[in-house]
């Protein structure tokens, strides 16, 4: 851990905020992606059943 | 008006990106009345809006002379605080026509001319909406259920107006279920209903055209 001196709060704070926001974005993207994939699989399966 | 012909070739019309009618080909010549038939939701309104140029066709083409179309929709485009004469005069001026008297006469609106549109009955409003067609000075009328809320006498009045229009070389495409007592041809759109699951439309799981 480097010595941050009097700016420790500012430096750690901005890194935490940035990484936190990125984490939220990744989580959101991942959840949306999974939901869309599952929804599409379900509807494609339903179509297959109807045709077959 | 010899070149005032509306022609559709292999037309596909869509609603919300989904085709509703496909492979439509027909022509409408001067002096002709074509009546559109088909169950509710079959795409008659969508077809009329496409022909009027309000939405682009999904496929095929429409050929018609420029500025020849007068579109009569479900809504009459009336302003409730303006009088009958003011409403009509507005549309006349928009289309560069100055005399609204013949239109008032023909649809029997002279007695109502100073009445505000908000005080008209549904049938009277409809008559005013139809009078608007006369002041457009346009040859091809596209009408969507024009006789809704008209009584029998008014329907007869409307039929007379259409008759006069076509005998002057105009033409009309009318979506209606009522027999107007005119020399009309029936054009039933039911056979042209688009098959949403047609294999030609879904060759691969992710087609370029999504819908």
């Amino acid at each position: 851990m480097p010595e941050l001196g009097k700016y420790a709060g500012a430096v750690l704070g901005s890194w935490a905020v940035t990484l936190g926001l990125i984490a939220v974005l990744i989580a959101l993207t991942w959840v949306q992606s999974r939901k869309a994939r599952a929804g599409l699989d379900a509807i494609e399966a339903r179509r297959k059943r109807k045709e077959g | 008006m010899s070149t005032m012909t509306l022609e559709a070739r292999d037309l596909t019309v869509s609603r919300g990106g989904v085709p509703v009618l496909e492979g439509l080909s027909f022509r409408l010549d001067p002096g002709q009345v074509l009546v559109l038939r088909g169950p509710n939701g079959s795409g008659k309104t969508t077809l009329l809006r496409t022909l009027a140029g309000l939405q682009p066709p999904m496929a095929g083409e429409v050929s018609l002379p420029p500025e020849a179309i007068a579109y009569g929709a479900h809504a009459d485009g009336l302003k409730s605080t303006l009088t009958v004469a003011e409403n009509l005069r507005f549309w006349a001026r928009v289309h560069g026509v100055h005399d609204i008297e013949p239109a008032l006469d023909r649809l029997n609106l002279q007695a109502l001319r100073q009445r505000a549109a908000q005080n008209l009955s549904a049938g009277q409003k409809r008559r005013l909406g139809l009078a608007r067609l006369l002041v457009t000075g346009r040859a091809i009328w596209l009408l969507d259920e024009p006789t809704v809320s008209l009584d029998r006498a008014s329907v007869a009045l409307f039929a007379d107006v259409v008759r006069a229009h076509i005998s002057a070389g105009g033409a009309a495409l009318i979506a209606t279920h009522i027999d107007l007592g005119l020399e009309t041809e029936i054009f039933d759109v039911t056979p042209f209903k688009a098959d949403p699951n047609a294999p030609s439309r879904t060759p691969t799981p992710f087609d370029e055209a999504f819908a």
């Binding site: - | 809006r49 009027a52 140029g53 309000l54 939405q55 682009p56 500025e67 179309i69 007068a70 579109y71 929709a73 479900h74 809504a75 009459d76 485009g77 009336l78 302003k79 605080t81 303006l82 003011e86 507005f90 549309w91 001026r93 928009v94 289309h95 560069g96 608007r132 457009t136």
Partner: protein, 218 residues
């Protein structure tokens, strides 16, 4: 097109509301500000041009959604789209009607409301001039926003969210020109930039707005 302008003006006059409401809102905003910041004359005089600009902008925003909404609902817009008037002309005329019925009364009232805030004498002139030059841009940008949201059921709030950021350059140059003018400084540059924004908006935005309207009519 004159027919369309005449109709829109007649409708605004008969419906009342039009000028009255926006003007009353403007008066209330100008009255509330001293309550919020205190009655000190020097402070009020300093912020008066900014408040008058923001107030005019908000009052203008109030009636934007009615530019196309009523015509959309009663089918007039469909019929106008098939009429011989080009859609760009329709948009420009409707924006002009909005300017005449909503913005112009604000421009005229602004110097009077300025008196409520102890605005120094040159302020009356400069607030009038800057608003006169700037409000056509506000009406035109607003018409563009109204065209984007015309098909939406609850478009009012969204309209504000879309239009207010677009108002920023007009607001900055307008308020800056007024403030500099009142202080006796050179304000030709912000005035010219303000006029430039108005000219460009009036010339170009009708095309974007009519494209948006046609998309919404489909």
């Amino acid at each position: 097109m004159i027919a369309l302008l005449a109709r829109d003006l007649a409708l605004a006059i008969r419906a009342g509301g039009g000028f009255g409401l926006g003007l009353a809102f403007y008066l209330i905003v100008s009255t509330l500000v001293p309550f919020a910041v205190g009655p000190e004359a020097a402070v009020l005089a300093r912020i008066a041009p900014g408040i008058l600009w923001v107030g005019a902008l908000l009052a203008c925003l109030l009636s934007l959604d009615r530019i196309f909404q009523l015509d959309f609902e009663d089918g007039s817009l469909d019929l106008l789209a098939t009429a011989p008037i080009p859609m760009e002309g329709t948009v420009a005329v409707k924006a002009l009607a909005h300017w005449l019925t909503t913005s112009l009364p604000l421009v005229i009232a602004a110097p009077i409301f300025g008196a409520l805030m102890n605005m120094p004498a040159p302020g009356y002139w400069w607030i009038f001039v800057t608003l006169l030059i700037g409000t056509p841009a506000l009406s035109m940008i607003g018409a563009f926003g109204a065209a984007l949201t015309v098909g939406l059921k609850r478009g009012g709030l969204l309209l504000s969210l879309l239009v207010l950021p677009l108002y920023i350059p007009t607001l900055i140059f307008g308020a800056e020109a007024a403030t500099r003018g009142i202080g006796g400084f050179e304000n030709t540059t912000p005035l010219l930039l303000l006029a430039g924004i108005t000219a460009a908006s009036v010339a170009l935005l009708p095309f974007a707005a009519s494209a948006a309207l046609r998309i919404n009519l489909r």
